[in-house]
């Protein structure tokens, strides 16, 4: 049986046992992954993760049950479990309804790639090997700590008792490498480099290896700098971790409705520098978070989030939308079939600026560039602090030396008011976002 047939049969069965509303979400992930550890191939895993999650509503009481076994008897058992959980729950006065059917857009281009879907273990192994060789071949001081290369074939089907029916297949390739450089008995900080794409033709293992090696070498012979307050260029990955994460949390309508977002009630107000424009686009061609519909089967769309610093929209699923009498923005998200939907960005796209990273550096009189951040970000208050790994000191437009045991700290909501420059080189990050390097001012740079 196909996933869609399974979800439909779960709806039929649940309706028979007596529920107000029911939704079934089935997922099958076929994954081939190669794990590098201790500088060599550690594991090669071929696995299928599949399962179904049933959400049942009775008298505004919600029950959810899941199973990894896709047999008729197990699915029916899950439907009964979800119903019995709903029975012992307490009704939620905010509950209105599961989504009703809407016309789905055409699948965004480039989210499924036949060539990628048909890759075998050997081909994934080759990707790992190419990255490995590129790093080792770059400079003999470079060593590889670990890495992982995966190809994922994702099949999702959703049905609900109002007639929502959706199914789609996507492909994804992910790879990363962590390198260090060793010289005169000293080891550099760990350098991280990655790629995420929908199709093998857009994926460069060689690039991962080369850049990881380059970053590791660039952090050899670090020096301490005296603490100061100044400009910091966050490369795409740390910019996503530090700046975008609290933005995603603050525009999450559930957080706003629950008083957990400082931006609650600030619709139309200035929350960031005019330089910042952010759109959530679930239909972005080749987007790593793109598909026709979200994880409740609601059509994906393009939602302006921040336009020239002004807050335009919060991101909704059907629950938060209904609560305010608004439509869902198609941002229902699940970590897997074993979770009921929450809210997350689909592809959060930060509008690129004009300058390349090199230009941004050359125009900096005094500052720091951070290419990896290891720390904590408090999404509600926006406080962040952590170690600036893979960080270099910039003076008079030039990268001078890597930094030793240096921390950076500040507040994200102030920092995005103080954006100096947004770079032109946007990249996908692991945080469902496309982010260029971003330069912020008045950041604490701390050493011993």
């Amino acid at each position: 049986m196909s996933l869609a047939e399974l979800t439909r049969s779960a709806i039929k069965y649940s309706e028979k046992i007596g529920v107000d509303e029911v939704e079934a979400f089935a997922q099958s992930l076929q994954i081939i992954e190669i794990v590098l550890e201790r500088a060599e191939i550690q594991s090669e895993r071929v696995k299928t993760q599949c399962g179904i999650g049933i959400r049942i509503i009775k008298d505004k009481k919600l029950g959810f049950a899941f199973t990894s076994a896709l047999s008729k008897s197990r699915i029916e058992e899950s439907c009964r479990n979800a119903k019995s959980l709903a029975n012992v729950s307490i009704s939620n006065p905010d509950w209105v309804s599961l989504p009703t059917p809407a016309k789905l857009p055409k699948p965004p281009s480039g989210i499924y790639d036949e060539e990628t879907a048909s890759m075998g273990g050997d081909e994934v192994l080759n990707l790992a090997k190419q990255a490995y060789d590129a790093a080792k071949g770059y400079d003999k001081r470079v060593d590889i700590d670990d890495g992982k290369f995966s190809v994922i074939l994702n099949d999702v089907a959703i049905s609900n008792s109002h007639g929502v029916e959706a199914e789609e297949k996507t492909t994804l390739l992910e790879g990363f490498l962590i390198c260090m450089a060793k010289e005169h008995g000293e080891t550099s900080s760990m350098a991280f480099e990655y790629e995420i794409t929908r199709a093998i033709r857009d994926f460069s293992s060689e690039r991962i290896g080369r850049i990881a090696a380059e970053k590791a070498l660039a952090s050899l012979k670090p020096k301490a700098v005296r603490s100061f307050v100044g400009k910091v260029i966050l490369d795409s990955d740390p910019a996503a971790t530090v700046l975008i994460q609290p933005i995603i949390s603050s525009v999450n309508a559930d957080n706003a409705q629950r008083g957990r977002s400082l931006w609650a009630g600030k619709h139309g107000e200035e929350v960031a520098s005019q330089k910042l424009t952010i759109t959530d686009d679930g239909l972005f061609p080749k987007g790593i978070g793109s598909s026709s519909f979200d994880f409740e089967g609601v059509p994906h769309q393009k939602t302006p989030v921040i336009t020239h610093g002004k807050l335009q929209s919060f991101l909704h699923n059907s629950f938060t939308g209904n609560k305010e009498g608004k439509k869902s923005t198609g941002n229902a998200y699940r970590d897997g079939y074993n979770m009921p939907p929450s809210i997350f960005a689909s592809n959060l796209i930060v509008e690129a600026g004009k300058k390349r990273l090199e230009e941004m550096i050359s125009e900096t009189d005094k500052g720091v560039i951070v290419r990896r951040f290891s720390g904590n970000v408090r999404p509600e208050s926006g406080e962040f602090s952590g170690i600036a790994k893979q960080a270099n000191y910039i003076e008079k437009g030039e990268v001078k030396y890597p930094l030793k045991e240096t921390m950076v700290s500040g507040n994200v909501f102030q920092a995005i008011m103080n954006i100096v420059e947004i770079g032109s080189e946007t990249r996908p990050t692991f945080l469902a976002s496309y982010v260029p390097p971003i330069m912020i001012a008045k950041i604490n740079i701390i050493s011993k």
Binding site: E37, R38, A39, E40, I41, S43, E44, R45, V46, K47, T48, Q49, C50, G51, K61, L62, G63, F64, A65, F66, T67, S68, A69, S78, N81, S84, L85, A86, V88, S89, I90, N92, P93, G121, L125, D143, D145, T187, S189, R258, G259, R260, N338, G375, N376, E380, S381, E383, S385, G386, I387, K389, E405, M407, S409, G410, N411, N444, I446, K448
Partner: protein, 456 residues
């Protein structure tokens, strides 16, 4: 029944082979601002095969527990082992161990399987009411309680046959306070490998109130300053230091890559006051299991004894490589993963200082409370977040400030430990190293120096 099937399939396996079976039954109840979000329960179930052929591992897993599918994962694992052999430099050999035939079950007074789900709804409703009633500035909370009930089987071609049932009960409370345009959050958790009696020993409401009090107080507080300071780390966050900063450096796979501890066996790496242990058998520890996922009997392993580096954490493979006995540290998150070297319950042994003594001797510094997530490089450079920093002036606790991330080199930080308290606690943790896993982290409050990432 499944076990008999696996046993039969394994008979045909040539060379060294193992089959694991795993059924994970989970239950989660979560209350957001007094409203039940959802009651969630479900099962994942499957089996995996790991085969060693000519010094090369192969691994395969399935959720379909039928004879032909189990035969297939054994075949797939064997052919993967063969296929990847030429691309591996290392030839794997295993340290020999006794093939155990045994059963183990988490010691429990109140088995959660025998308790009605409505009980848990009542429990979290009560916690939520008290938390939100704590102060007017508390605007939001989430109270969550989870039960994870694992049934595990390990079978090897050497004759091991181990059945384990491991039950973990844990909960957490997240609180948000708002006042005059400021916002502060606080988070606390409880949990253990145990039955529901954990809720009697460490009531969820107690940590809920700790979180409520913290968020409510910190909403109007400033951020802690930046720089190197003498600090007292609260007992609940000392485990993070033990785990993040030291534990990872002692994992033999990282030692092999040249971690800080690589050449330190027998050498002084910490203050003589520090004894740091990874214990697979700690009673009710979140990472406790009688046997690891290679069927090795777990034990208490001293990584550092009185400041001297004693041992690394091993799998059968690394034990053979280093010429020592396996320590029972090979663990897998579930049947989709092959085991890798992981910590179990990592802690710094208790000292004899009272909290008053620890504070009294400090002229100026901070008492850091409430842990957030952490990370470490194998050079020993670590960081983890703290929620609250209480200023210490002339031996007295004064102003409460918002906590910040702290960092340092673990071994410098441990060399600077000059006093350890007697308020030992073991807490729960989730560790992410390629695959996540449940771990225990413990310790008593201690005094040292760290770099604080605060405001200039």
């Amino acid at each position: 029944m499944v076990i008999d099937l696996l046993k039969e399939c394994l008979k045909k396996s040539r060379g060294y082979g193992e089959l694991r079976y795993h059924k994970r039954d989970t239950f989660t109840v979560s209350l957001k601002d007094g409203k039940i979000d959802v009651l969630n329960s479900g099962i994942i179930e499957g089996a995996c095969a790991r085969v060693l052929k000519d010094g090369s591992w192969g691994f395969s897993s399935t959720t379909m527990l039928e004879k032909d599918k189990i035969d297939k994962i054994l075949e797939d694992a064997a052919s993967l082992a063969k296929a990847s052999k030429s691309k591996k430099k290392r030839s794997v050999k295993l340290a020999s161990v006794k093939p155990h035939v045994d059963k183990y079950e988490t010691p429990m007074k109140i088995d959660p399987r025998k308790t009605g789900r409505e009980e848990f709804v009542r429990l979290i409703i009560d916690v939520d009411k008290n938390v939100r009633g704590f102060s007017k500035n508390i605007v939001s909370d989430t109270v969550t309680f989870n039960i994870v009930d694992d049934e595990l089987a390990f079978l090897s071609s050497e004759g091991a046959e181990i059945l384990q049932r491991i039950v973990r009960c844990f909960g957490n409370v997240m609180v948000i306070a708002r006042e005059k345009g400021n916002i502060a959050s606080a988070y606390e958790s409880i949990g253990a490998q145990s039955g529901l009696e954990v809720l009697e020993k460490t009531p969820l409401i107690n940590v809920g109130m700790t979180a409520a009090e913290r968020a409510s107080k910190l909403v109007s507080a400033k951020v802690a300053p930046a720089g190197l300071f003498p600090v007292i780390l609260e007992n609940r966050i000392v485990g993070l230091l033990a785990h993040e900063a030291v534990g990872h450096c002692s994992e033999a796979d990282l030692v092999y890559s040249g971690s800080f501890l690589a050449d330190k066996i027998g050498k002084e790496v910490a203050s003589e006051k520090v004894t740091l242990v990874d214990d697979g058998r700690y009673l009710n520890g979140f990472g406790t299991m009688k046997y690891d996922d290679e069927g090795v009997s777990t034990q208490k392993t001293a990584i550092i004894a009185k400041g001297i580096c004693q041992s690394f954490l091993h799998s059968r493979e690394t034990a053979q490589h280093f010429g020592v006995n396996p320590t029972g540290n090979a663990r897998a998150w579930n049947f989709e993963f092959d085991p890798i070297i992981r910590m179990r319950n990592t802690y710094i042994e208790t000292g004899d200082y009272s909290m008053e003594d620890l504070v009294e001797d400090m002229k100026e510094g901070f008492f850091l409370k409430g842990g957030l997530s952490g990370q470490a490089d194998f050079t020993g450079e670590f960081m983890f977040g703290t929620q609250e920093a209480i200023k210490i002036e002339k031996g007295k606790l004064t102003e409460s400030l918002r906590g910040v991330t702290i960092s340092g080199n673990a071994f410098e930080v441990l060399k600077n430990v000059d006093a350890i308290g007697k308020d030992f606690v073991m807490r729960i943790g989730m560790c992410g190293k390629e695959q996540i896993n449940y771990v225990g982290m413990g310790g008593a409050s201690l005094r040292t120096n760290v770099l604080m990432g605060g405001t200039k």
